[in-house]
Symmetry: none
Subunit: 228 residues, 4 copies
Amino acid sequence: MQPRQTDSDEFDAPPSMARPSLLRELPVTQRGLRTRASLIAAARKVFERLGYLDTRLVDITKAAKCSAGTFYTYFASKEEVFAAVLEVAQEDMMHPGTPRVADDGDPAQIIEASNRAYFQAYERNAELMGLLEQVASIDPEFGKLRRDRGEAFIARNARSIEDLQERGLADVELDPILASRALSGMVSRIAYNHFVVGYREGESASLDEVIYTATRLWVNALRIPPVN
Amino acid sequence: MQPRQTDSDEFDAPPSMARPSLLRELPVTQRGLRTRASLIAAARKVFERLGYLDTRLVDITKAAKCSAGTFYTYFASKEEVFAAVLEVAQEDMMHPGTPRVADDGDPAQIIEASNRAYFQAYERNAELMGLLEQVASIDPEFGKLRRDRGEAFIARNARSIEDLQERGLADVELDPILASRALSGMVSRIAYNHFVVGYREGESASLDEVIYTATRLWVNALRIPPVN
Amino acid sequence: MQPRQTDSDEFDAPPSMARPSLLRELPVTQRGLRTRASLIAAARKVFERLGYLDTRLVDITKAAKCSAGTFYTYFASKEEVFAAVLEVAQEDMMHPGTPRVADDGDPAQIIEASNRAYFQAYERNAELMGLLEQVASIDPEFGKLRRDRGEAFIARNARSIEDLQERGLADVELDPILASRALSGMVSRIAYNHFVVGYREGESASLDEVIYTATRLWVNALRIPPVN
Amino acid sequence: MQPRQTDSDEFDAPPSMARPSLLRELPVTQRGLRTRASLIAAARKVFERLGYLDTRLVDITKAAKCSAGTFYTYFASKEEVFAAVLEVAQEDMMHPGTPRVADDGDPAQIIEASNRAYFQAYERNAELMGLLEQVASIDPEFGKLRRDRGEAFIARNARSIEDLQERGLADVELDPILASRALSGMVSRIAYNHFVVGYREGESASLDEVIYTATRLWVNALRIPPVN
DNA sequence: AATGAATGAGGGTTCATTCAT
DNA sequence: GATGAATGAACCCTCATTCAT
């Protein structure tokens, strides 16, 4: 099922990517930290406004009100500042503070809560998720990053499916990994379509409807029995 | 469910995009037609090798053994030649020639056959599908194209779901459109992961396993009853 | 002794450097050839005026009255155009047309004639030789080029020394290679000082005096007996 | 002939260059002196490793473990710190402590001793001499410095040649200045080739052979008679 | 005296597009 | 129709130097 209630979600940083943007060490002065932070904030805004490709370094430095040279004090390239943007966003998403649901509760309820937390986190970072999608398709480095994150997410859901199977609560004909890939992909695709691509006015469903449908499909697909 | 047996699939060109690359009309001479075709063939090869962004026009003209100037005789831009590449691939996919399955047969069998046809078509054009994914995230024009194609596909599957519901063969709690978006997205995401992203050796499942899982999840998700 | 009368001199290109500037193939049209030649001519002028380091590509393209882009049609870098300049100069020096002196004549006369031819060729290309000295100390590639050329020159003179020793006309205590390195170096250093570095007014000797001194030192150093 | 036994060699600072790097006065505090010295030491190491041109000020300050700003407390530019490096090396070479040879001894022995002392001093500072060669070809200031040093050296040897001529021990046909330029140039070129350019394995002669050849050529060239 | 962040002029380089031949 | 040389705007990036702390 979707990201567990506590910390984790698609933004978990695999250990190896822990400091993807820190090839250059952090500045030592307060002033330096401030400048670096303002560059990251400016970069995020500009990326979201113009898209990754159309963003010129000068757009970022202008938005951050600093010179071109200053950019290179902190980042070696557009890729690197983008990695830093993702890293910051990730910090922001590390603790979504989703309401806990008892682990031994009704599986369908747990799935619904997970899905809801996932969609809400996605919504908060929708523009960034769209950017990541774009960048992942352009730069293999970020493609790998996206995939690694997705796999952590898939692995978690696979464990959950296996657990349900062992408890006799899910279709044992399904391979947990393959089912998790399919269903996790389904949910993230729904989120992408809903928040990033968008649908024409009148076509777009409400978030509640979307969550309801995603959850019901997920529960049905695993043949999780109704509570009673 | 997945692309019906006959013509259609994600490559259906919506009427409005019928001749997206033919803003300029086809050349009149045999020589011109040959040159244009060789440019398109070369472009496809180069795009697949270098990716859309890293392909320069000169790469295409070199591969087509013609001059830079000639390119502009047939295409106004990289976008246009890419549209032409897609169009040709689409011609190639128009008639997948999949074995027919009786429409009134076992729904699960129909779904399986649809999925199989879809995955096979995807496999034949996997590199191009990866490219389309990339270009769609870069160029809104192609983003729209991809979305339109996806929606034709979703609409067809939504009709199928609705039909099953009316016949009492599918979960009536589900909104046909939303369910179709979710399940269609699930299948195309599976195909993308399987054929484009790939998985590390040993992690990759066989195509049959993937089809089996996709089909079973789809059937379960709709609560389509077993045949007997 | 100095470069033999016919073709060769310090500008002999070792086979491997035969086309050092032709990494990019030669243009196919007359127009292209003209442009390339004008770039090389402009580059030589600018290099001689500003020195290698202070020459900017834009200085060259301005002098050649073409755009920055055109430069890159023919050369990948400043190094490459400099190699082309050297290559052209070399063509120019391939046939200095020095007056022949009978090989069996008075050794001292042969040496004098060789030295004279060498100094005259050096004078014709003095500015370029100064440039080569500069570039060789900056770019190892050209350092190697200079060394290779010097060695061809040294080897020729070493053979000549050995020949005189065998005929009983030169000090047999001397190692021909080491003596050739020393004397060849002496002459090229004299030429460099005389034509490139220059001396303050009034300090500078006449070319004839320089040739006379170089020759007498060379003859003495080898203990070549006087004619009579 | 070569550097006399006592102090002198090509590194003699002409009076006018006595403090070429001390446009700014020495720091007054111990700390300042230490910092300045560490910058000079670091600069020498970095220059020798990277060459003059490829050395950036930040390379020097990093090696000296101080900040960029501190550099400017002591030096106005890269040229200035290079001049300081040369000056320090010169201090180091001021007193080579070569064994004295009686001035009235065998001229050939005196010349050999001079040459040996010169080559040994050159060897100790080979990398720096290579650097000086490079910088002299780049920066006219240092070109002048090198030339001035060379001329002191040439003048000394010219006096020695004149003295031998007056004592009837050297070829009176030779102009002492021109001969000195030629022979001094020969020796310094030999040293440059031997210690800086180097020769391929197996091609390189031993230092003793080189000194022997240089001395014999020098003695021969001046027609200095054998002792007995 | 020392720091190190900030600057920005100045250079190199690319490549889609045009156009004379 | 085909050619390929010419263009030049647009961008990236470096690094010597300054200066507030």
